[in-house]
């Protein structure tokens, strides 16, 4: 700070020390946060399905399976949250996942006998590197070449998948060291599957990174007002490249986990993964317009469609209806976000759906009368 301000500030520091809100207000603030509301929504879904089929749904093994199915998506979700917070988007994650798995598998197969932890670690590093490469490419094209993120990542979505098919002639590779499959793919620690542990670690890392570090703060700032960031000397291009690189790296990690779990590079698969993850991010409360978002929200947002699908299969609902309901949640989440953004930008106190629908018209009439 300027010397004048600093001296004035230090005089006041003793006065303004630790101004904390009372506990009640802090708890109230917590419950009003979007993330908490999403958790309540998820709990409501759990309660409804538990009531409809307690035996099958409300079961530790069932929840463990839901968690496993969300794990890989959650890792992708961390990176995607960062990208969407900057106001960008990533459609390439599924293909980068596949490509990284292919590279990892090829590397591991060619090393020695293809078994053991040394091979596994080299393979993991190879996969991470290939994911990082695609992330850097995405970031460079978005930040420096100024190509819109949707177009860039649509291009890399096709390119990464195409390269995977070139490298493998379209046939899935299945080489993965047994240690990797057994410990990462299907291992568990104290009953918690390894996949879930790894995903949880990545999610916690993501939460800390976004909420508590300069990198995370600047990510939000760039998404909120990139021009303002440039004016205060933040290298916006470099920040964007780092964000996309992070997402690419995580997609590489997801590729390894995918290979370990399925013992296959699943080239034909993951074509809808990008939309599933983006839906999870949006349902979790992160705005597609950037500036605000939480990794925790993304995690819960991913749990909701996964839990819905699980419950619907258990109840025997036709697959087509499942898609309709998950889609309805997505639209609902975006609507809630729109409402919140409108309320924030106008300082309005009227935010309930009822008043937005029914009072909107009458306010227009009033304006016409006055003019």
């Amino acid at each position: 700070m300027s010397p004048q301000t600093e001296s004035a500030v230090s005089n006041r520091e003793t006065e303004a020390s630790v101004i904390r809100q009372p506990l009640g207000a802090r708890l109230g603030h917590l419950f009003k946060s979007q993330a908490m509301q999403i958790v309540l929504v998820w709990l409501a879904i759990v309660m409804i399905f538990s009531a409809l089929s307690p035996g099958a749904f409300l079961d530790i093994a069932n929840f463990r399976n839901i968690a496993i199915s969300v794990s890989i998506l959650a890792i992708l979700g961390v990176g995607t949250t960062f990208i969407i917070v900057t106001g960008g988007i990533d459609l390439s994650m599924g293909s980068v996942l596949v490509f990284s798995g292919v590279v990892g598998s090829m590397v591991m197969e060619s090393l020695g006998d293809g078994e053991g932890w040394f091979v596994a670690i080299v393979g993991i590093l190879a996969a991470l590197t290939s994911g990082l490469f695609w992330g850097l490419l995405n970031g460079f094209l978005v930040a420096k070449a100024k190509v819109p993120a949707m177009i860039v990542t649509l291009g890399t979505f096709g390119a990464a998948l195409g390269l995977s098919q070139v490298l493998t002639s379209g046939i899935d590779l299945r080489a993965a060291p047994e240690v990797l499959v057994d410990s990462v793919g299907f291992g568990s620690l104290f009953g918690v599957p390894s996949l879930v542990i790894i995903a949880t670690t990545v999610v916690i890392f993501g939460i800390i990174l976004l909420n508590h570090t300069k990198f995370g703060l600047r990510t939000s700032a760039v998404g909120s007002n990139a021009e303002a960031c440039r004016r205060v000397g933040i290298n916006v291009d470099r920040q964007l490249i780092k964000v996309y690189a992070l997402a690419g790296l995580l997609a590489g990690l997801a590729g390894v986990l995918n290979l370990s779990f399925f013992r296959s590079t699943t080239i034909a698969g993951h074509s809808l993964t990008n939309l599933d993850v983006i839906a999870g991010v949006v349902i979790g409360g992160t705005s597609l317009f950037g500036g605000i978002g939480t990794v925790f929200g993304t995690l819960v947002g991913l749990f909701i469609p996964a839990t819905l699908r699980n419950g619907f299969v258990i109840l025997g609902v036709e697959p087509y209806w499942q898609q309709v309901v998950v889609g309805a949640f997505l639209v609902g989440a975006v609507y809630v976000d729109q409402t919140r953004r409108a309320a924030n930008s106008r300082g309005s106190t009227r935010t309930s759906i009822y008043s937005r629908i029914f009072h909107h018209k009458s306010s227009t009439n009033t304006n016409r009368k006055e003019s």
């Binding site: 409809l52 899935d172 296959s264 698969g269 809808l272 697959p319 309901v325």
Partner: protein, 341 residues
């Protein structure tokens, strides 16, 4: 209040979910809430009097082949009596989509699971796991080590591929260049069809095989393959399209290139779009599998196993060659794939 909005929206959607669930549960067969029934059914040993639950996991939803298979499943269930059928499947052919469906189905502890696995290794462990509680029958596609399964039921795809060549030979007796359009390599069923075709065409010197191209279940890609192949091989006489989307696309490609009538197409599978192509002459023959039979046999094998009766570990179903000539006959009509059951 902002959280009021969210709670309201969520309640509406949750209410929708509840209603849909209740509706589809009651629209199933005469039994009551399937899940609670299934849970208790799994504990008891299967006997002729107990109601049996069969879960059918399709390879992909919205595909006439698997819908016909569903019809066969339901018919067998109806015939046996006391068998409750539930059908699930992924939006796309994707092991990452199918695996959570398998684990969700496992939560209901069905007596039997019929499944067309999306990948030979990806579904290996999940199905081995499922086989501990339920009888598993593999339909259409298989896995690396199917020893946990009660039975594997699929078309004799090698024979089917050879039959496709026979159909071409009948239509183009003088010989010529032939192309194969496949889905993608690595899928056991279509690989076998290509193998059968290649074996048959290789044995016949009057035909030149210009190779196999992959359309990845996308009709648009198949059309593009046809138009570009015609550029390179203008004397192309016939195309063998190994599955429904490839055949659709091949027909489109031929129309686009304006060579309808000069280039013969033999398709594998007989969905409504292909039958239409057969009717208006773009496709000249269809090698129809018997998915209805596969589904029917699947249930039969599962129930036999549950009742402690003997089972067959491998069943190969046949095929029907459908042309414009026999389309109107009863045999021809029965060979076509269903759109609803």
């Amino acid at each position: 209040m902002r959280h009021a909005t969210t709670i309201k929206v969520a309640s509406v959607v949750a209410a929708m979910a509840f209603t849909l669930a209740a509706c589809s549960s009651s629209s199933e067969s005469e039994s009551t809430a399937p899940a609670t029934e299934a849970a208790s059914t799994a504990e008891a040993t299967a006997s002729a009097n107990k109601e049996l639950s069969v879960a059918f996991i399709q390879g992909v939803i919205g595909d006439n082949f698997y819908i016909s298979m569903e019809c066969g499943v339901r018919a067998a269930a109806q015939e046996i009596g006391g068998v409750n059928v539930s059908v699930q499947g992924g939006q796309k052919w994707d092991p990452a989509l199918q695996q959570p469906i398998v684990t969700s189905v496992m939560a209901t502890s069905p007596d039997a699971i019929l499944i067309a696995p999306n990948d030979i290794t990806a579904l290996q462990r999940p199905l081995e796991e499922a086989a501990k509680e339920s009888k598993v029958v593999l339909v259409d596609t298989t896995v690396e080590d199917p020893s946990f399964a009660v039975s594997q039921i699929a078309s004799d795809n090698v024979g089917g591929g050879a039959a496709a060549f026979e159909a071409i030979k009948k239509m183009v007796p003088e010989g010529g260049q032939v192309l194969v359009i496949d889905n993608q390599p690595g899928i056991s069923t279509s690989d076998a069809r290509v193998e059968g075709f290649e074996g048959a065409v290789g044995a016949d010197p009057s035909f030149e095989y210009v190779g196999v191209q992959y359309a990845k279940n996308e009709p648009a890609k198949a059309a593009e393959i046809v138009t570009s192949t015609l550029q390179r091989y203008p004397d192309l006489k016939a195309i063998f399209a190994t599955n429904i989307f490839s055949a659709e696309g091949a027909a489109t490609g031929i129309k686009q290139a304006g060579v309808a009538g000069d280039v013969r197409v033999v398709g594998f599978d007989a969905g409504p779009a292909q039958v239409e192509a057969l009717e208006d002459g773009t496709v000249q023959a269809l090698i129809a599998q018997q998915p209805y039979q596969i589904g029917y046999q699947g249930v039969m094998q599962a129930v036999a196993s549950l009742r402690g009766e003997s089972t067959e570990s491998t069943i190969q179903t046949g095929f029907t060659i459908v042309t414009k000539d026999n389309l109107a006959t009863e045999e021809g009509q029965a060979a076509l794939y269903a759109s609803t059951c």
